[in-house]
């Protein structure tokens, strides 16, 4: 792997890992999976227009965000079912429009195609996510504690929720380049799950999430000498989770 691709892989992992804990606390663990599939027709569109797949994915992810928010306003119950149906619909659309040889690449990622422009985009998105999380840290914490309580505190929960989904959409669009549509959801589950296991303070939890992103992707990059990068990253994340789980179980 070239240095540029290594940096993109690490930066994408940091962005997604930082958001992961909030996704778990909000009990929306599968939102990553749902979202990433929504990106597939966007990737198809980008490939046929010969533009960067980040933009195709991002546009469809933003579209999906608005769609989910709009439906959530109307149907308060059965949200999971609605999200599920939306992502299956988009997955089908993706399959129709995407060429077979490019399908595997979209599903499992291809970091080899990353360009310098991708590196620039990754740095901007990651900085935006770090800055936004630090800025809204207290509000995000109180909302994770209880949405009702946060509302009573005068926090604009809808606004923060929207910003949060926006960050998720951007981070997923980044991650798809590395692991592809199928595996990017792992980035939103394992880091948060692992870090929530062993941290006892919010600030340390955020810090550890960032480190988790760095360490898991470095380990993944090392393993990618033997296996493909996407699966390598998921396997490293799982290994770190197992280590954290053992630490927790034996109270080390």
């Amino acid at each position: 792997m070239e240095i540029q691709q290594i940096v993109i892989t690490i930066i994408s992992a940091i962005s997604l890992s930082l958001l992961s804990g909030f996704v778990i606390l909000k009990r929306q663990s599968l939102i990553g999976d749902a979202f990433s599939h929504i990106a597939l027709p966007g990737i198809a569109l980008a490939l046929s227009l010969k533009i960067d797949i980040f933009w195709g994915a991002l546009i469809f992810l933003l579209l999906g965000t608005f769609l989910i928010i709009a439906i959530r306003e109307k149907i308060k119950i059965f949200l999971e079912a609605v999200v599920g149906f939306i992502f299956l619909l988009f997955l089908s659309l993706g399959k129709i429009f995407i060429e077979d040889e490019e399908l595997i690449e979209s599903l499992f990622g291809n970091i080899q195609k990353a360009t310098t422009l991708d590196l620039g985009i990754a740095i901007i998105v990651c900085s935006f996510i770090i800055f936004t999380i630090l800025k809204f840290k207290d509000k995000l914490a109180i909302i994770s504690f209880s949405e009702e309580f946060a509302q009573a505190e005068g926090i604009n929960v809808k606004k923060i929720d929207f910003i949060f989904l926006l960050m998720i959409a951007m981070a997923i669009a980044l991650g798809i380049r590395v692991t592809g549509v199928l595996l990017v959801g792992s980035y939103l589950i394992l880091p948060g799950l692992s870090c929530l296991l062993i941290t006892k303070s919010f600030n340390r939890f955020l810090l550890l999430s960032g480190f988790y992103g760095i360490i898991s992707s470095c380990l993944g990059i090392f393993l990618s000498r033997f296996i493909e990068l996407g699966p390598a990253i998921v396997i490293s994340q799982s290994l770190i989770f197992i280590i954290f789980f053992i630490l927790k179980s034996f109270k080390l």
Binding site: K200, S201, F205
Partner: protein
């Protein structure tokens, strides 16, 4: 006058939960709210902080700061948030919360607190934010007698020093009668509104639909 509620009606999917509620609250007044389950007590509090849509009119004196201490349910206790971080994120000055809790307690996460300890943290947080009105939703439901005494002596100390109004919703009629000058009875409609001494067994029976045994502190 601090608060005026006129013809407040709240509907959930066209079904009224509260109907035509009108009352007033003076500055520094303590008001109790009682009523059976589903009477709309929590709904009333949520309307008072404009958290839910309603018909009618709720008017505060200009610049009124309202703080609510919600019921201890639907709270995500798995959050890795220490008591200290919770106070800092709520913008409470260090010297204020440090006067109530020691370092060891402040380093605990919310998930390690008992219900009573969490209730105490939430109440002290709300009272430290210099409110003009505090809404307490079932504040005693998770407290054992000792914690209840501690928490309510804290509330009384704050109340004597800072002078604010309190609306307290509770099933604990003896607690209400020990804390408040005035009580309103809710059962979708306003069933009664008056001094605690007017709360006769007959009114309670009418409100709850069965005989209620309660020890009332007569002021």
């Amino acid at each position: 006058m601090l608060l005026k509620v006129e013809n407040l009606t709240v509907k959930f999917d066209e079904t009224p939960v509260l109907e035509n509620i009108s009352f007033e609250l003076e500055e520094n007044e303590v008001l109790g709210v009682i009523g059976p389950n589903g009477a709309g007590k929590t709904t009333l509090l949520k309307a008072l902080i404009f958290q839910i849509p309603f018909e009618g009119k709720i008017t505060y004196k200009e610049g009124t700061v309202v703080k609510m201490v919600p019921q201890l349910k639907n709270l995500n206790r798995n959050l890795p948030l220490t008591v200290e971080e919770f106070f800092i994120f709520s913008k409470i000055p260090q010297e204020v919360f440090k006067s109530f809790f020691d370092e060891k307690f402040l380093k605990k996460t919310l998930s390690n607190l008992s219900d009573g300890e969490l209730q105490k943290v939430l109440i002290i947080k709300a009272l430290s934010q210099k409110p003009d009105l505090v809404l307490l939703d079932e504040p005693s439901s998770f407290l054992d007698p000792k914690n209840k005494e501690t928490v309510f002596s804290i509330i009384e100390k704050f109340h004597e020093r800072d002078k604010f109004s309190i609306i307290i919703v509770s099933h604990d009629i003896s607690l209400i009668s020990s804390m408040t000058d005035r009580v309103i009875c809710l059962n979708k409609n306003l069933v009664c509104d008056g001094p605690i001494s007017h709360l006769t067994p007959e009114i309670l029976e009418k409100l709850y639909g069965y005989k209620v045994m309660a020890h009332l502190h007569r002021h």
